[in-house]
């Protein structure tokens, strides 16, 4: 269960906005996190409290394949992103990195900047504590749930390698 304040951002937030290329000279999560959303608005990170939640419009995470994007969001202390929709590579990267993504389509308009949210990643239920509204998002496909249950792609591959040995 996650609880945090909603920070709304717009449509087509690209990975250059999430973490500009000039910061890609490290793989360190804390360093990347300190510059999260620097390409959207310099100093954006200063308003974030650990546990806060990004709520985005359409196609969040479009652009480059840089895994540094979900790593930067996690490094900034943000465990969950809710969006109308996500770009494909970003979705898969986040899934691998353990960043929880909830795709809710038009229901995204039911969340306002600053709302207090509580998110159950297992059931996919978002409880908007400010408005009292509950939003149910689509479940993760079974194959992907299998990877999640293993603890992510790293342990999944480790198991497949062991099975081959």
């Amino acid at each position: 269960m996650y609880q945090g304040k909603a920070h709304k951002v717009g449509d087509h937030i690209d990975t250059d906005a999430i973490i500009p290329a000039r910061f890609l000279v490290t793989t360190d999560a804390a360093e990347l996190g300190a510059n999260c959303m620097e390409g959207l608005e310099p100093g954006w990170i200063k308003r974030i409290q650990k546990g806060d939640i990004i709520v985005a419009g359409e196609n969040f995470g479009c652009g480059s394949s840089r895994e540094h994007a979900p790593v930067a969001i996690l490094g900034a202390g943000i465990p969950v992103v809710i969006a109308r929709s996500f770009a494909r590579i970003f979705y898969r990267n986040s899934f691998n990195m353990g960043l929880v993504l909830l795709e809710i389509g038009d229901d995204v308009t039911k969340i306002h900047d600053g709302d207090s949210l509580s998110v159950d990643a297992d059931t996919g239920v978002i409880d908007n504590r400010t408005t009292g509204e509950k939003i149910q998002c689509k479940p993760v496909p079974p194959f992907m749930k299998g990877i999640l249950d293993k603890g992510g792609l790293v342990p999944y591959v480790r198991d497949r390698l062991a099975a081959r040995a």
């Binding site: 000279v25 394949s65 840089r66 895994e67 990267n93 591959v157």
Partner: protein, 419 residues
């Protein structure tokens, strides 16, 4: 069931019978790629997975092309991680220094990717190889690490948008303009999670280089892949670049398409994507007169020899406007050498262009051409997101090589026919 090209390509690499979009299948990989930004994270994940050896040292490729020649100490450290891993794993295809090209221009040229392949790369423009009839797509570093260790990955079978290319391209219109026109129609998320499949009489006529340019920008429409059939032209290209055993491949007649979009080249003007999304596409006449500070000609989208020829034809006998910096980056050593042999480099020098080494550098605001606040660039690259090439207060306009060269000469965006 008649199959789309995407389905046929995946089926060749999977033991599971492919039944249609949405299905998740495991596929064997022809090649796995990473670069100097994404490989260090992939190598870290590879270790965490407990992997010791890559699945095939001939089919794991690292190209250090983004921040190279190393722009600072931190980027040099990242390349060092790549170099040491390549040495440890005895990778047959590691590129650093004089053999570096921009990865998606380099790999087709070396015959490392080609018709019928399934390729994943830790770079979103891996979709370029669809121009040769390969199912090629970008993924993040951890997926790439899994691919390096296992030689396989999972895919969700995508639905397909058929793009019918018709008509004929005018003198200053090419693959880039057709693709920008398409993105203008379907938008930056129009092909999200989907395959684009290019067909039509004009698709057959396009050169392989123009096809690579178009497939390269499938991701700018949100696409997973942008596929051209592996036809006679693609097979001839593959054979000329040292490959053997490739076969022709196209969609079955009657395959199901989620949507059909027609792009007609007849009478099309050069297309310009305006800030700050690749879908903000306008014909050049609507943006003509906008003063520019910089022009960049190169990248995985438009840094091949045909692109340089197109630019050189504009520069011949002309000079870059005094207030403009024009940076020309041939995308690979072979392209550089060919441009030199054909006298194109001399034309660029005579026109007062800066001619640099193959690098992704300025495209992603890495180095070799960063923009200050208030500056405007025209570029043959693929993204014009806010701040992509430098300051958040700068602007990038995307175009084909002729329009970029013409703007460099005029000092402002202009129809190349007017130079």
């Amino acid at each position: 069931m008649p199959a789309t090209l995407a389905e046929k390509l995946l089926q060749r690499h999977s033991d599971t019978e492919i039944t249609g979009p949405g299905q998740i299948v495991r596929c064997r990989l022809s090649l796995v790629l990473a670069n100097d930004i994404t490989a260090p994270l992939a190598i870290k994940a590879f270790r965490e997975m407990g992997a010791h050896d890559v699945f095939d040292r001939d089919r794991v490729v690292i190209v250090t092309d983004h921040f190279t020649p190393n722009k600072d100490i931190a980027s040099a450290e990242q390349v060092k991680v790549c170099r040491e891993f390549a040495a440890e794993q005895l990778l047959a295809h590691y590129f650093e220094g004089g053999n570096v090209g921009v990865e998606h221009a380099l790999l087709p040229e070396l015959g490392l990717v080609g018709p019928g392949d399934v390729v994943i790369g830790a770079d979103s423009h891996t979709c370029t190889y669809g121009g040769l009839g390969a199912f090629a797509t970008g993924m993040g570093s951890t997926d790439i690490a899994g691919g390096m260790a296992l030689g396989e990955t999972w895919f969700k079978v995508p639905p397909t948008i058929q793009v019918v290319l018709t008509g004929d391209c005018g003198k200053f219109v090419g693959g880039k303009d057709l693709m920008l026109a398409l993105i203008g129609v379907i938008g930056v998320s129009g092909a999200r999670y989907k395959a684009l499949e290019f067909t039509g009489a004009l698709a057959t006529k396009l050169s392989v280089e123009a096809r690579l340019t178009m497939s390269n920008m499938a991701i700018e429409a949100g696409g997973k892949v942008g596929l051209f059939p592996a036809d006679a032209k693609a097979l001839a290209y593959a054979a000329a670049h040292g490959r053997t055993g490739d076969e022709a491949l196209e969609a079955d007649p009657g395959a199901h398409y989620e949507r059909v979009v027609t792009i007609n080249a007849d009478g099309m003007e050069p297309q310009i994507a305006c800030p700050h999304l690749p879908e903000n596409v306008k014909p050049v006449s609507e943006v003509a007169g906008l003063r520019i500070d910089q022009a960049v000609i190169g990248s995985c989208t438009n840094g091949r020899i045909e692109d340089l020829r197109e630019a050189a034809a504009i520069f011949k006998g002309n000079k870059v406007a005094k207030h403009v910096r024009c940076i020309v980056l041939p995308a690979t050593p072979a392209v550089w050498r060919q441009a030199l042999a054909e006298g194109l480099i001399e034309i660029f020098m005579d026109a007062d262009c800066v001619v640099g080494p193959p690098t992704c550098g300025p495209c992603l605001g890495g180095h070799m051409g960063i923009l200050a606040g208030g500056e405007r660039a025209i570029a043959t690259t693929n993204r014009n997101f806010r701040g992509r090439m430098g300051s958040l207060e700068s602007e990038v306009y995307l175009s084909g090589p002729a329009a970029a060269a013409a703007a460099a000469v005029a000092g402002a965006i202009i129809d190349p026919a007017k130079i």
